[in-house]
């Protein structure tokens, strides 16, 4: 499943992402707000669900080779995060849903 298919299926608002990166495969997922946990544990290509909205999120997503970041629980990104996601070209999505519920839906789409 690609990032854009995931966004469509779950009604995620895409804040940025080029045609190329929206078309990249989502390989698993990870939920967490502590950056070093995500860095160490999120698998390559994962969709990362978080409520962290500062620019360091972009660095972790980029250096950890994640496929996209999904801000959950209605969180909005800092302007600096959005700018950095655009310049790193990583899709930034958002959802009003709770992390737990959204993760469950993503799990179903990817593995069920």
């Amino acid at each position: 499943m690609t990032v854009s298919q995931l966004a469509d299926a779950l009604n995620l608002e895409a804040l940025c992402g080029s045609a190329e990166t929206m078309d990249a495969a989502v390989a698993g997922g990870y939920c967490g707000d502590l950056l070093s946990w995500v860095m160490g544990r999120a698998p390559e290509g994962a969709a990362w669900l978080t409520i962290m909205s500062n620019p360091n999120v972009a660095a972790v997503a980029s250096l950890g080779s994640l496929s996209c970041v999904i801000l959950t629980e209605g969180v909005r990104p800092d302007t600096q995060l959005l700018q950095r996601m655009i310049s790193e070209d990583i899709p930034l999505l958002r959802s009003g849903e709770e992390t737990f519920k959204l993760a469950g839906k993503i799990y179903k789409l990817l593995y069920a």
């Binding site: 707000d33 502590l34 950056l35 070093s36 946990w37 860095m39 160490g40 390559e44 962290m52 500062n54 620019p55 360091n56 999120v57 660095a59 972790v60 980029s62 250096l63 950890g64 080779s65 600096q80 790193e88």
Partner: protein, 145 residues
């Protein structure tokens, strides 16, 4: 593969732009066509080290050398140093301030991540004088097999 030598000065007072050296290293490794798994492991190691220099070490110097087989990353700062390296290496150990924790740092997982993703890692530190972290990574197709 073209050998690579990179040097960076890491600024000690900006948490928001932190990661620039790591990002540039990743780009350079991609450009010379390094193995994707090696790039990812090196990026994780370098980022954790870079962030530690910023939030704990007051900034410092980073150098990366890669000959196509062996990569060496050396991070040196003249910050406050680490009184007990063994304790610092433990998962969950952190002296990070609340301000830094609010940004998502301070889980005490940075050094353990570096240890996990590097093939060799040595930390040298002297209280009041600074810290040097040296990591070696090999391009090893067997590692993930």
């Amino acid at each position: 593969m073209e050998p690579l030598t990179l040097r960076y000065t890491v600024d000690g007072d900006s948490f928001t732009t932190a990661g620039e050296a790591s990002t540039d290293m990743k780009r350079s490794l991609k450009r010379i066509g390094a193995d994707a798994d090696l790039i990812r492991r090196a990026s994780i190691c370098m980022y954790e080290g870079e962030i530690n220099m910023v939030i704990h070490g007051g900034g410092g110097q980073a150098s990366v050398t890669f000959d196509g087989q062996k990569m060496e990353i050396v991070l040196t700062d003249r910050g406050k140093g680490i009184p007990d390296i063994e304790a610092a290496m433990r998962e969950g150990f952190s002296t990070a301030t609340q301000e830094v924790r609010d940004l998502g740092f301070g889980a005490g997982m940075g050094l353990p991540n570096m240890k996990r993703y590097a093939d060799e890692m040595v930390v040298e530190s002297k209280v009041g004088a600074g810290t040097t972290v040296r990591m070696v990574l090999y391009d090893d197709p067997q590692r993930n097999a």
